[in-house]
């Protein structure tokens, strides 16, 4: 999951990335993503992991880093089952 997400973020990002994005890197704060990129990432996650990110879940607490995202998604996928 983490790899897939990182790979997609790298496609979206305009920053020169020498090494792979760390799972703990602040995606918006570091400028890796802008808000357009973030929403595209959410669209990707919904498609890829067959889930629906609710408007109230679109908060920095769930999407700050790749780690936050995977945590959020895991809870989300557990809820679904």
């Amino acid at each position: 999951m983490q790899e897939k997400i990182i790979k997609y973020i790298e496609e979206l990002s305009s920053e020169e990335i020498d090494e792979s994005i760390e799972a703990t890197e602040d995606l918006l704060g570091s400028g890796i993503l802008d808000s357009l990129g973030m929403m595209k990432l959410i669209a990707f996650l919904e498609e890829e992991f067959c889930c629906k990110v609710l408007p109230e879940e679109m908060v920095i607490e769930n999407f700050m880093t790749v780690l936050h995202i995977t945590d959020y998604l895991e809870t989300k996928l557990v809820e679904k089952q």
Binding site: D34, S35, L36, M38, P55
Partner: protein, 1045 residues
């Protein structure tokens, strides 16, 4: 190389079409200037520029049409070179440059050969400007950023002697075009989203008839303090979203929605917003046109606050970002908005260490579909946010243009100040603008205010016109002297009966000399009169008598008064009294001192609580109005001793005009008494007699005049009042008079004494469906306010409030209602304004236009009806639990009342109708009925009148059984009626009025009958004969007569 022909991206085709539509306009010029305050080596700059063209293929693209379809070609060799202009030897290089620039920005591109215009301008040895204009088809703001850093870098390299051409491969726009994949999911999302798109709003009531690209840019700097506050707000919990920029984007967008709502009144709104569309590393490095515009939707709910609207926008803007994908835009999406919001999140770096001032220049044109484009930016990262308002010159005049930023910023400040406040609460107007509007509407300079009560005025006239005619009624003529004698004798009689100041006298008389004498006599005693139409149902008369606590009830004869014998009120049969008793009383003027605030009359109007309410009119208000009518309608038109008809119901306040106005001018009252028929057709007699000079009447009366030859009429002035005056009707009547008449539209609720706003109909200028109502009369003031009593800007719809000398002193014995409707004037301490609940706007000519009612009070055929009053009466019927009355319109726009109700038991509709008929005047009795399980309610718990309109009702035709046509003539007439009433079944005994018939229908029916039978049946026959059976019998008689001749 044929394979060089590339299709256009979706975004490009939309632009390409836009350019095709406006072939001569530089509508898509994107002009950037960069001030470089250093010495520039022109040679190196040229080389750097040349390299730009090599690197970025979009700069080398041209657009051609092949077989009707546009294509772009990426030229290998584009021999375009940078132009060098030297103004440094001019006396004032900057001034020369400014002139040059202004001209140059509008340079039109031939898109088949070159879409680029770039110049290096020398202003001095250490001040250059790089000017670059590109057609939008090949660039966008992001691209300009890339180009600027590239030229900075290349120039430095060239100066350093480094090679400019490297092996590095640059992202090409052509690749992007080839690889563009359209996201079908996004496309589907937008398609669904615009399914229920509202119409584009009309801002300040302005709309563009001809599309024009001409536009003006208004530049507003928000200031550091305000910008700082905005950033603080953007970072507050609940406001802050993904990034500060997005939070600011949401704040500005929310404010823009609130602004559009405030200047259009439209609750459902759409704003277009561009997205940079660069979502991959590769596209972020590509020069070319990527931007696409998508719509953002918002619905303003009741009591919407800035914060609650922001919450909606936060969700909306996230969805926007999610689905705004390359290639998903369409012309349908573009058509859904006329306002564009562009938040520019870009800043231009320095030029190799030298700070650069860059400017995005306005070409003087923009997409004609956009009435307003708001650009928000801080291009130089100064910390001060700036706004560009690009406004369409064709839509907004200079005066309105200047107000747009002011109104927007008023809301922005309110948002910063208190985000929890309702978006309708803050005032939009600046003090200056408020003053301008008040100057037009509120002529506070009082004129002719020296108060003389109407009785004194009449007595003065009696001295002047003693031997002139004052009243003509059939054969009866009363001279001024005689009239005054009779009035005085009755007044002395009444005084002797203890009637005087503080007494209230109900007068239920037909239009007659007796009516006029009684009204004047009551006023002479200092008492208040209450006119009650002679044909009112007993219940309503009883209600008025009891509610008003009248001390005397005056009727014609004992026979009439006996109906009310159970009421303890004193009763007087005036006909007998005047002939026998009063002759013995003094003939001198009683000389009672009548103060300004003494109530002259109380007029009962329909009330929403189920019962009519009495409006108190003071002597001061009455005198103010009558004095004004003398000037405006009589003196102004050089009419002397005017002949004026008394022909309207005494329960209608306009009738007071016909009583008092002639008597202060030495004129004649021509009395037209009502007969006992359903419809009062006195107007036809008035016209036929052709003796009058001035008439005040309703549009419904005017409808009766259609088809009459008025070219020889003596009427010089007509004041139309009581209902919406349609321009079409005005024109018709004006033409029927061959233009030899002055038509006035007079507006005024009873609460502001008969009339208070007026407009002279101008057949050349009045082009809207409704004739404007104009401007206030002497000593009256008008205010157009919103819900929060803020004055609204010119052009914007608001509620009309009235103030001035003519204001009623309130409702009789209804302090609660008086306090609710007559409120403290927030603009003039110590005075009151009356809330009309009428919607108006101040149009671009600076006069008022009437736009309908805010509440459920309606007018049908000139009758003011509170639907609530009818509903209250229906609810008093046995088992009925809930009900709603609405106005329905047939295909020809004719209005009638429909009642919907719920009841646990089946209700006999005919019985219900008969029940209501006993309670209410005929014009208030609904003709259509429907029993429902439940009355449909809207989300906020109100009766959903829109749904009701879609439910078919049953026509209730009183207690008559259906009788089919019995002969050929009846069949023909039935067919005509069915066609006009749009019904499939009408019985031959059904009544015209009860079917909802009115004058226009009568005209249609008469015309068709006359065509069918080749006859000349007069219009009033329908009202007289009422049923198909009767008309048929009459026609048979006429036809037989003709055949026998």
């Amino acid at each position: 190389m044929n394979n060089n022909y590339e299709s256009l991206t979706k975004g490009q085709s939309l632009l390409w079409i836009g350019q095709e539509i406006n072939p001569e306009s530089p509508v898509y010029n994107m002009v950037m200037t960069y001030d470089l305050k250093i010495p520039i080596d022109v040679n190196h700059f040229e080389k750097a520029f040349e390299e730009l063209l090599y690197r970025y293929d979009a700069l080398r693209s041209v657009f051609v049409v092949k077989e009707g379809e546009p294509f772009q070609l990426f030229l290998q060799d584009h021999n375009y070179t940078l132009e060098i202009v030297d103004f440094s030897n001019e006396q004032d290089p900057i001034a020369v440059y400014e002139v040059w620039k202004k001209d140059r920005v509008a340079k039109k591109f031939d898109i088949t050969t070159c879409l680029l215009d770039s110049v290096l301008i020398k202003l001095s040895t250490s001040h250059y400007v790089w000017y670059i204009n590109q057609h939008h088809l090949i660039t966008d703001a992001w691209s300009n950023g890339i180009l600027f850093s590239a030229i900075t870098n290349l120039y430095q390299k060239s100066k350093n002697g480094e090679p400019l051409r490297t092996l590095e491969v640059f992202s090409s726009y052509k690749d992007f075009v080839n690889k563009q994949k359209i996201n079908t999911k996004a496309k589907e999302y937008w398609k669904n989203k615009i399914k229920n798109s509202p119409p584009v709003p009309s801002l300040y009531n302005k709309s563009a008839i001809n599309l024009d690209t001409n536009s003006n840019r208004l530049h507003v700097k928000l200031g550091f303090e305000r910008s700082k506050k905005l950033r603080l707000l953007a970072n507050e919990k609940g406001v802050r979203v993904w990034t500060e920029h997005l939070s600011l984007y949401n704040i500005f967008l929310t404010t823009l929605f609130a602004y559009l709502y405030r200047v259009s009144g439209q609750e459902q709104l759409v704003i277009g917003s561009p997205t940079h569309n660069r979502t991959s590393k590769q596209t972020k490095e590509t020069v070319g046109f990527f931007v696409e515009i998508f719509p953002v939707f918002a619905t303003i709910d009741k009591n919407e606050t800035f914060l609650s609207l922001l919450k909606k926008i936060q969700i909306e803007s996230n969805s926007f970002l999610k689905y705004a994908t390359s290639g998903a835009s369409s012309s349908d999406l573009h058509r859904s908005f006329n306002v564009l919001f562009n938040y520019i999140n870009a800043d231009y770096p320095d030029f190799n260490g030298t700070p650069v001032v860059s400017e995005w220049m306005h070409s003087g044109h923009h997409d004609p579909r956009h009435h307003i484009r708001l650009h928000v930016h801080d291009l130089h990262n100064t910390g001060e946010i700036q706004l560009y308002f690009d406004v369409n010159n064709h839509v907004f005049d200079a005066q309105t243009q200047a107000l747009i930023p002011e109104h927007f910023i008023a809301l922005l400040d309110a948002f910063i100040d208190l985000k929890d406040q309702v978006i309708e609460q803050p005032s939009l107007l600046t003090t200056k603008e408020f003053k301008q509007i008040t100057d037009v509407l509120n002529n506070e300079e009082l004129v002719n205010t020296s108060y003389t009560n109407i009785i004194t005025r009449i007595e003065e006239q009696v001295d002047k016109s003693a031997l002139d005619k004052s009243i003509v009624f059939k054969q009866e003529v009363l001279l001024y002297k005689e009239l005054n004698r009779k009035v005085n004798q009755l007044a002395h009689y009444l005084l002797a009966q203890n009637i005087g100041i503080g007494s209230q006298v109900a007068i239920c008389l037909k239009r007659s000399s007796e009516y006029i004498i009684t009204v004047l006599a009551v006023l002479k005693t200092g008492a208040t009169y209450i006119p009650i139409p002679h044909n009112y149902p007993k219940d309503r008369v009883t209600y008025i008598l009891e509610d008003s606590k009248a001390s005397l009830f005056i009727g014609h004869e004992e026979k009439q008064l006996i109906d009310y014998k159970e009421l303890s009120i004193r009763k007087l049969a005036i006909d007998e009294l005047l002939n026998e008793v009063t002759d013995g009383y003094a003939t001198t003027n009683p000389l009672i001192n009548i103060a300004q605030q003494t109530t002259a009359f109380i007029i009962y109007t329909s009330g929403s609580t189920g019962n009519p309410k009495g409006v108190k009119i003071t002597h001061e208000a009455l005198a103010n109005y009558i004095n004004w009518t003398k000037e405006a309608y009589i003196d102004k038109h050089a009419i002397e001793q005017p002949n004026i008809p008394l022909f309207t119901t005494v329960g209608f306040d306009i009738t007071a005009n016909a009583v008092f106005l002639p008597l202060i001018c030495g004129g004649v009252i021509h009395v037209y008494q009502e007969d006992n028929t359903e419809v009062d057709l006195s107007i036809l007699d008035v016209i036929e007699d052709n003796t009058i000079d001035f008439i005040k009447l309703t549009p419904a009366h005017l409808n009766f005049l259609k088809g009459l030859d008025l070219s020889n009429s003596n009427i010089k002035v007509m004041a139309v009042t009581g209902d919406e005056f349609k321009t079409e009707l005005g024109l018709y009547i004006f033409n029927a008079f061959k233009g030899k008449v002055k038509l006035y539209n007079e507006y005024g609720p009873s609460e502001a004494t008969i009339g208070c706003i007026y407009h002279e109909f101008n057949p050349d200028k009045d082009k809207l469906p409704g004739v404007p109502i104009g401007l206030p009369i002497d000593n009256m003031q008008a205010y157009i306010l919103d819900k929060y009593l803020n004055p609204v800007p010119q052009g914007v719809v608001g509620e009309l409030y009235l103030g001035g000398l003519g204001l009623s002193s309130g409702y009789w014995d209804r302090q609660d209602l008086t306090d609710a409707k007559f409120i403290e004037n927030p603009f003039l301490t110590g005075s009151k304004i009356y809330r009309t609940e009428d919607l108006v706007r101040l149009n671009s000519q600076g006069i008022l236009e009437f736009l309908g009612r805010t509440d459920f009070q309606v007018k049908i055929n000139g009758h003011r009806i509170e639907l609530g009053e009818i509903e209250a009466n229906i609810l008093s019927y046995k088992t009925i639990k809930n009900c709603a009355v609405i106005v329905i319109e047939n295909e020809e726009g004719l209005k009638s009342l429909a009642a919907y109700f719920s009841s646990p038991m089946p209700v006999d509709l005919k019985e219900l109708r008969a029940f209501i008929s006993q309670k209410l005047p005929r014009y208030m009795v609904p003709v259509q009925y429907k029993q429902l399980e439940n009355i449909p309610l809207s989300a906020n718990g109100k009766i959903d009148r829109k749904i009701l309109k879609s439910i078919n009702t049953v026509l209730v035709e009183t207690t008559l059984e259906y009788v089919a046509p019995r002969n050929e003539i009846e069949q023909e007439i039935t067919d005509i009626w069915c066609a006009v009433f749009n019904k499939t079944k009408i019985g031959v005994h059904d009544h015209f009025i009860e079917l909802g018939g009115e004058s226009l229908m009568a005209i249609q029916i008469t015309t068709r009958i006359n065509e069918t039978f080749e006859l000349k049946t007069p219009l009033n026959k329908i009202f007289e004969l009422q049923t198909i059976a009767n008309i048929s019998a009459y026609l048979e008689e006429v036809i037989t007569k003709i055949l026998n001749e």
